[in-house]
Amino acid sequence: MPLGTLQFTIDGITVQTQEGQSLIAACDAAGLYIPRLCYHPDLRPAGNCRVCTCRIDGHQAAACVTPVRDGMVVENDTPQLNADRLALIEMMFVEGNHPCPYCVASGDCELQALGYRLGMTAPVYPFFWPRHEIDASHPDIFLDRERCIACSRCIEASRMPDGKSVFSYEGRGIAMHLHVDGWGGLGATQMAAIDKAAHVCPVACIVIRRDGYRIPNGQRRFDKTPIGTDIEARRKAPPS
C-alpha cells in the first residue's frame, strides 16, 4: 500500500483511499453512495442536515464531516439508518411548502429525489405551512424561501468561491431562515446569476428566472435514474 493510503470497510466492502479524505468523498470516489443533502463536492462540508449519518466504529456520525481513518468500520446502507434518513427528509418536507407537482425544480431537486430514493410516500408529520413572499427583487434570480431547507450551501458558496457574503441565517431554531445581505431583498445585493451561489441550491429556493420548465418532462436529472446512481455507476465501471 503506498504511503498515505488508508483502508476501511463500509457495509463489508473494503475501500482504499488517501489520507485527509472525508468519508463521503472517499466513498463517492469508490462508487459507494451515502445519501446526503447539504453536502456539495465543490464546497466545504457543513454537517447540517445529518442525512449522511452512518455508524462508524459503533457510533453515529455524519459522513461528510468525518475524515477517514485506517481500519475504520462503517455501516451505511442499513434499514435503521435509512429509516432515520427518511424521517429527516419527511421533516424537511413539512417544515416548508413543497408542491412538487408544479414546482420548477421537480425532477431536478435533490430533496424530492431523496424522498423517492428512500421510499417516502404519504406525509407522516403535520404540515407547518410557512408563508414567505417570493423575493423577486433581483432581475435574474428569484428566491422562494418556502422551499429552503437550510442546507447552507448558498451561504458557503457565496463566501468562498464568490467572495461576497450575500447569504446568512437569521433567527434561531425552528425560526431560523435564510437572510440576504441587503435592504430591499436580493436585488440590493451583489449577487449575480453566474455566481456559484446561484447554482448550488438543492431545491427550488434560489432559482434562475425565466429558465424554468425549459427541460421537458422525463429529461431532468432524476427522471430516469434515482439520485446517487451516477456515483454507484463508478463502482460498476471497469477499473481504468
Binding site: P101, V104, I134, R210, Y213, R214, P216, N217
Partner: protein, 490 residues
C-alpha cells in the same frame, strides 16, 4: 335570467335536492323547489366547490402559472396549461410563436379535445342515449353499454387512449404534461412518436365517424326527444378563425343571436371584457356571464361544441365539414336555417368536433414543422396577458396581470361551465317543468335532470371522472326546510 329562480325560499314550497349530480366532473347540486300545487317554483344548479386558484397563484412568478393552474383546477389540465401558456406569451411580449411551437401546442390541444370529448360522449353520455334515460341505474353505465354495443367499448378506450398519446407525445406525460414556456415550447415531436401516431390516427378517425353514425341512429329513432329534450333558445359564442372557419386553438370571438344574426364578431381575446360582463348571484360560487350589449337579463349565451358549430361558417377538414352540413341541415328543417337549439345536439356537435380533431391531428402529423428546432421567441415584457381558446367544453379565458417583478397580482379565469351557467339552469328548469312536476320522483326521472346537465359536460372544478359511481343523494324538504324524504344511490 329566470326571475322565479332568483328569489329567496318562499314558505309553502318543498325542495328536492340532487347532491351530488353524478357523471359530471366534480360536485354540483340541483335543487328544485315545488310549490304546494306540485309545480316547479324554482330550479337551480349550484356549484358548491370553490378552489380559489385565482387567489392561490397571486405572488407566483408568471412563467410558473401554466404548470400551476393545471394542478389547481384539474378540470381539463391540458386546456389550462395551454390557456395560461398563451396568456404568458402575451406577457413575455410574444405575439407570434415559431411554426414548430404553434403546431406543437395545436397538436396537444386537439389531442386533449379529442380525448376529453370521448370521455364525455362514451363514458358519461352514451349510457343515457343508448340504453334509455330510465334504464336501471345499475346497467346505465359504460359497462352496460359495452354489453349491448361491444364496439362502443373499443371506441371509448381507443379514442381516449389515442388522445392521451398525443398529449404524452407533446408534453411528456398523459396527464399534467408540460410543454408551454412563455414564448414557445420546450420540445418538438420526436420521429418515433410521430410514426406511432400516424399509424394509429387512421382507425381513430374511422371510429369517430362510426360513433357519429351510431348516434345518428339514436336521433333517427327518437327525433322528438332529441329535438325537444331540455331545449332552450339561446345566443351562442365561440372562437372562429379569420376566415370564419372552425378553430379550437386560436382566433377571434364571435357571438350569434338565437335567430343566427351576428351580435359581435372579430373580437380579439384581450378585448373580451368590453363585450362580456360577469354577474354574481348569492347562491352560487359560479358567476353568470352575459353579453354586455344585451344586458344581464337577455345577454346569456351558450358555448361548447353546439356553439362552435352554430357560430362557424365552415370546417376546414372534409369529413367534419360534411358532418357539419348534415347537422346544420337538421336546423334548417326545424328552424328555417337558424342555429340549432336542441340541447341534446351538444352530443352530435361533440362528435363532429371529434372527427375534426382526428382529421386535424392527421394533417399535423404530416407536417415537418413539428420536427423543427426553433422553439422559443423572446419579446418585450408586458404587464397583462389575456388568452382564449376553445376547450373541450367551450370558450376558456385566462387573464393575468403582473407587477414589475414578474409576480402575478391578478388573475381571472372564465371556464366553459361558467359561460353555460345560466343555460344549464334553464335547461334543468325546462326538464323539471316538463317531466317532474306533479309526478312521483323516481330515480329515472331524476336522471332526466342529469341528462340535461351532462349535455353541457360541465366541470365543477374537481379532477375526477366519476364514471357513474358517485353517490347520489336526493333530499325532499318541506316548506320549513325539514327533510321529509331522502334517497341515496350509488
Amino acid at each position: 335570467m329566470n326571475d322565479k329562480d332568483n328569489g329567496n325560499r318562499d314558505s309553502g314550497t318543498r325542495r328536492i335536492v340532487i347532491d351530488p349530480v353524478t357523471r359530471v366532473e366534480g360536485h354540483g347540486k340541483v335543487t328544485l323547489r315545488l310549490d304546494d300545487a306540485g309545480n316547479i317554483a324554482q330550479a337551480r344548479f349550484h356549484v358548491v366547490e370553490f378552489r380559489g386558484f385565482e387567489r392561490f397563484i397571486q405572488g407566483r412568478m408568471y412563467w410558473e402559472v401554466p404548470v400551476i393552474v393545471q394542478r389547481l383546477c384539474g378540470i381539463c389540465p391540458v386546456s389550462h396549461h395551454l390557456g395560461a401558456g398563451k396568456a404568458m406569451d402575451a406577457i413575455a411580449g410574444v405575439d407570434r410563436l415559431t411554426p414548430t411551437a404553434e403546431k406543437m401546442r395545436r397538436l396537444m390541444h386537439y389531442g386533449q379535445v379529442l380525448q376529453s370529448s370521448a370521455v364525455n360522449f362514451f363514458h358519461l353520455a352514451s349510457p343515457d342515449l343508448l340504453l334509455g334515460f330510465e334504464a336501471p341505474v345499475e346497467t346505465r353505465t359504460i359497462i352496460g353499454v359495452m354489453e349491448r354495443y361491444p364496439e362502443v367499448g373499443k371506441w371509448a378506450i381507443m379514442i381516449r387512449k389515442f388522445g392521451q398519446m398525443v398529449i404524452a407525445a407533446t408534453g411528456g406525460r398523459r396527464i399534467h404534461p408540460r410543454l408551454c414556456v412563455p414564448g414557445g415550447v420546450n420540445q418538438n415531436l420526436s420521429v418515433e412518436y410521430r410514426d406511432n401516431l400516424r399509424r394509429d390516427v387512421e382507425p381513430v378517425l374511422a371510429w369517430c365517424c362510426q360513433a357519429l353514425e351510431l348516434h345518428r341512429a339514436f336521433i333517427d329513432a327518437h327525433p322528438e326527444l332529441h329535438a325537444e329534450f331540455a331545449r332552450i333558445e339561446s345566443h351562442y359564442m365561440s372562437l372562429v378563425a379569420a376566415d370564419g372557419g372552425l378553430d379550437l386553438y386560436d382566433g377571434r370571438l364571435r357571438a350569434m343571436d338565437a335567430k343566427g344574426g351576428m351580435i359581435f364578431d372579430g373580437i380579439p381575446a384581450d378585448r373580451y371584457a368590453d363585450h362580456l360582463g360577469e354577474e354574481v348571484r348569492p347562491w352560487s360560487y359560479m358567476k353568470f356571464p352575459y353579453i354586455r350589449a344585451l344586458g344581464p337579463e337577455q345577454g346569456w349565451y351558450r358555448v361548447g361544441p353546439l356553439a362552435q358549430l352554430n357560430c362557424c361558417a365552415f370546417i376546414g377538414t372534409p369529413l367534419a365539414e360534411q358532418a357539419r352540413r348534415d347537422f346544420m341541415a337538421q336546423g334548417g328543417v326545424r328552424n328555417g336555417g337558424g342555429p340549432i337549439h336542441a340541447t341534446l345536439a351538444y352530443h352530435w356537435a361533440r362528435l363532429v368536433c371529434m372527427i375534426h380533431c382526428a382529421e386535424t391531428i392527421r394533417i399535423l402529423l404530416h407536417d415537418d414543422d413539428l420536427q423543427g428546432s426553433d422553439l422559443v421567441v423572446t419579446g418585450e415584457k408586458r404587464l397583462r396577458g389575456i388568452s382564449v381558446l376553445e376547450a373541450p367544453r367551450g370558450t376558456l379565458f385566462h387573464h393575468y396581470e403582473i407587477d414589475e417583478q414578474d409576480r402575478i397580482v391578478r388573475a381571472n379565469l372564465i371556464v366553459a361551465t361558467t359561460h353555460n351557467n345560466e343555460a344549464i339552469n334553464r335547461s334543468i328548469r325546462q326538464v323539471a317543468e316538463r317531466d317532474l312536476a306533479g309526478r312521483d320522483i323516481s330515480e329515472g326521472l331524476l336522471n332526466h335532470l342529469e341528462v340535461a346537465i351532462r349535455a353541457y359536460d360541465p366541470c365543477l372544478s374537481c379532477a375526477t371522472h366519476a364514471l357513474g359511481q358517485m353517490k347520489l343523494v336526493v333530499t325532499l324538504e318541506d316548506s320549513d326546510g325539514t327533510p321529509i324524504l331522502s334517497k341515496a344511490r350509488g
